[in-house]
């Protein structure tokens, strides 16, 4: 078969697929059309995240699996990078989604926004290909510029960093110019300031340093101040807008809550950064400051649960998009348990001395990223699908409702199962490797070889497969839900 035939065949397949999903982009505004592009890539990267997570989980059980072909460090890097990037894609998509509605005008700089999307997506594809095919380089600057920077979560090579900043600036321009042309609101103000911080912080992670203490100091500025501060506020913004749209909560209520959440989130989260400065060479005062402020970090998350559940309750859960509301509620609880409770459990230095660098962190990471960020993005995917099909009814009695319910159930059970398995492994490591054996290499492997650790890794893989099944069902449901639905969703008014 020659190339032309292959291309033709591929084109026909794509056409068939488009005909099968039967989504009509004329139902969407310009901003929303850009948003669903971001959502589409987000879902693809979500699938990649889970696939590479499964490979890495398998290597914990069979270390010879893909040895010297796709080693653990490669799989793990793609696993966490795909996650960070799909969540960012989801957030950017969500902002483009709500931008025109919130500003009550058409998006400004759409062409540039579209261009930025394609540039970013091409860059992400290239970075992943280099991760997989080149993997590592010699100990030179060129490796850090072209292959990977070898810094957990922000491994993307330096050229991509610069590209990301440029794309973020275009995104920021779209947001600010649109609000300036249309209408500013409390939500718009918080969003804009948060995006300044989010983009600015990324720059803190773009430098090479010989001094590892300094390097990790700035590295945490990016990681922590993203996921435990600016991302949380961004989610607060998205949540505030969603509650108005899904339930008809009054603007004054959501905005007042948003300000309270910002105060609590930044008030605890900014200095809570100190819990990463316990053991990297930084001064001892961080034990006190980091311990105290990070212990307060769960408070805004409790506030968000109260906010979401109270508003849902007062509106009797009446809404036209059950899957989206269910994922919003999953977000409120997941954020509280994953980021709040699981974070608090090992945040005080007295316990962190033993849990630092063990599976405790992985346990917390899984539940927190899923609970806080995956959930709310999934809610937005459902919102997007509903409107992509022409604002169809997606409330009570929709066809094949079992799919979204099972997807919700399997994903939550899967992630929770992995979390508990890794928590067991983390307990065991803390006692045996850290407390008893004093963290030597011998102690490390004594803990890794322990039966409770080994069985925990098996359980983790099993629940990973449950998660993958849930994701498969979610993708199927997103592609098909609302197809052939003729009833329109009610227009929600604020009350």
């Amino acid at each position: 078969m020659n190339v032309t035939e292959l291309v033709e065949k591929a084109t026909t397949r794509v056409k068939d697929f488009k005909a099968w999903v039967a989504l009509d982009s004329t139902n969407l505004t310009d901003g929303q059309q850009l948003a669903v592009k971001y959502f589409t890539v987000a879902v693809i990267l979500f699938v990649a995240q889970i696939l590479f997570g499964l490979l890495a989980a398998t290597q914990f059980i069979w270390p010879g699996f893909l040895y010297e072909f796709l080693d653990f460090n490669v799989n793990r890097m793609v696993h966490i990078n795909a996650m960070v990037v799909w969540m960012l894609y989801g957030f950017i998509g969500s902002i483009y989604w709500l931008l025109e509605d919130e500003s009550q005008t058409e998006i400004v700089g759409l062409k540039l926004g579209n261009l930025a999307f394609w540039v970013l997506t091409a860059a992400v594809t290239l970075v992943v290909l280099v991760y997989l095919l080149v993997q590592i380089g010699p100990g030179k600057d060129s490796s850090l510029w072209l292959i990977n920077e070898g810094r957990e979560y922000i491994e993307a090579p330096r050229w991509a960093d610069i590209g990301i900043v440029v794309v973020m600036l275009i995104f920021f321009y779209n947001v600010v110019a649109t609000f300036s042309k249309g209408k500013w609101s409390g939500i718009a103000g918080v969003l804009t300031l948060d995006l300044v911080a989010l983009a600015g912080l990324y720059v803190a992670g773009m430098f090479y340093m010989t001094n590892i203490t300094h390097e990790q100091y700035w590295w945490w500025w990016v990681i922590h101040l993203w996921v435990e501060a600016t991302w949380e506020v961004l989610v607060g913004v998205i949540m505030a807008w969603s509650l108005m749209k899904l339930l008809g909560v009054r603007r004054k209520i959501v905005q007042t809550w948003l300000y309270i959440e910002v105060a609590l989130m930044f008030g605890s989260g900014i200095l809570g950064l100190g819990h990463h400065y316990f053991w990297i060479g930084t001064p001892e005062y961080w034990l006190t400051i980091g311990g105290f402020f990070s212990a307060l970090e769960p408070i805004p998350l409790v506030a968000m649960v109260v906010h979401a559940v109270y508003d849902s309750g007062t509106h009797a859960f009446k809404n036209g998009n059950h899957p989206a509301l269910a994922w919003i509620i999953a977000h409120a609880f997941g954020n509280f348990f994953g980021a709040g409770v699981w974070g608090f459990m090992h945040t005080l230095p007295q316990i962190n001395l033993y849990t630092h660098g063990t599976q405790w962190s992985a346990s917390h990471g899984h539940l927190a990223f899923f609970g806080a960020y995956a959930t709310i993005n999934i809610a937005f995917f459902y919102l997007a699908i509903q409107h992509w099909r022409g604002n169809v009814w997606m409330g009570a009695g929709i066809a094949n409702a079992w799919r979204w319910k099972w997807a919700l159930g399997l994903l939550n059970v899967g992630v929770l199962g992995m979390t508990i398995a890794m928590l067991v492994a983390g307990y065991e490591q803390s006692f045996i490797e850290r407390a008893v054996e004093g963290s030597t290499w011998g102690g490390y492997f004594t803990a890794q070889n322990h039966p409770s650790f080994q069985s925990a890794m098996s359980w983790r893989l099993m629940f990973g497969l449950v998660t993958a099944a849930g994701l498969g069902l979610l993708v199927w449901d997103l592609l098909t839900t609302g197809k052939g639905e003729t009833r329109k969703a009610q227009v929600i008014t604020q009350h």
Partner: protein
């Protein structure tokens, strides 16, 4: 007419949000300036790179209830004394290699990274290198051909061959030795060094 209580007022919480955020950030900036100056290489917490010429140990202090790095007499690396600049270059090569080889997505450094392989914070001092006489040679061989000199401790987990050159391996060892001299506030706890056994 405004009968709304303060705690339910949107504008009140807006001001609180702004002041709390600005205040917290300002404190963070001040602490950052202080922390960076206290942790420059050559200070009390993070020694100068030429510390690789010295014996580095990590000893438990009864009074402090934690271990602290102890810098001793001369103990040259690769039988050579390095000037501060030469030492910096060697550590820099090692640090850069550790990033280019993506060590952090299997190992932890200062406890941060992935959990598939042991922590490297005090790897230079680990008893796994058997004796100080064998240590440098074992580390070189391990880094350059880990698949043949695997240290699996019965786990079957082997480091892959990462194409580390001799110069890079020396850099990595210098980097590990320098890192082991950083005052990490007692992390890891209860660690017995290669010197404790001798």
């Amino acid at each position: 007419m405004n009968e709304e209580p303060l705690w339910a007022s949107e504008s009140f919480w807006k001001k609180v949000a702004i002041w709390v955020t600005a205040g917290s950030f300002l404190i963070l900036v001040v602490l950052t300036l202080d922390s960076l100056s206290q942790t420059s290489a050559g200070g009390a917490r993070v020694p100068a790179y030429a510390v690789i010429n010295k014996k580095v140990d990590y000893q438990y202090q009864e009074k402090l209830h934690k271990s602290i790095p102890v810098i001793g007499e001369d103990e040259f690396l690769f039988g050579q004394e390095f000037s501060e600049e030469e030492a910096r270059q060697l550590v820099d090569l090692g640090k850069k290699t550790s990033q280019a080889k993506n060590c952090m997505n299997c190992h932890t450094l200062l406890g941060n990274g992935a959990y598939y392989a042991p922590d490297l914070t005090k790897a230079w001092l680990d008893q796994g290198w058997i004796s100080t006489e064998l240590r440098e040679d074992m580390m070189m061989k391990f880094l350059m051909a880990p698949e043949k000199n695997a240290r699996t401790y019965g786990s079957n987990r082997k480091m892959p061959n990462l194409g580390i050159t001799e110069a890079e391996a020396k850099g990595l060892i210098a980097f590990l030795k320098w890192m082991s001299s950083i005052d990490t506030n007692g992390f890891p706890y209860n660690f017995k060094t290669i010197y404790a056994e001798q």
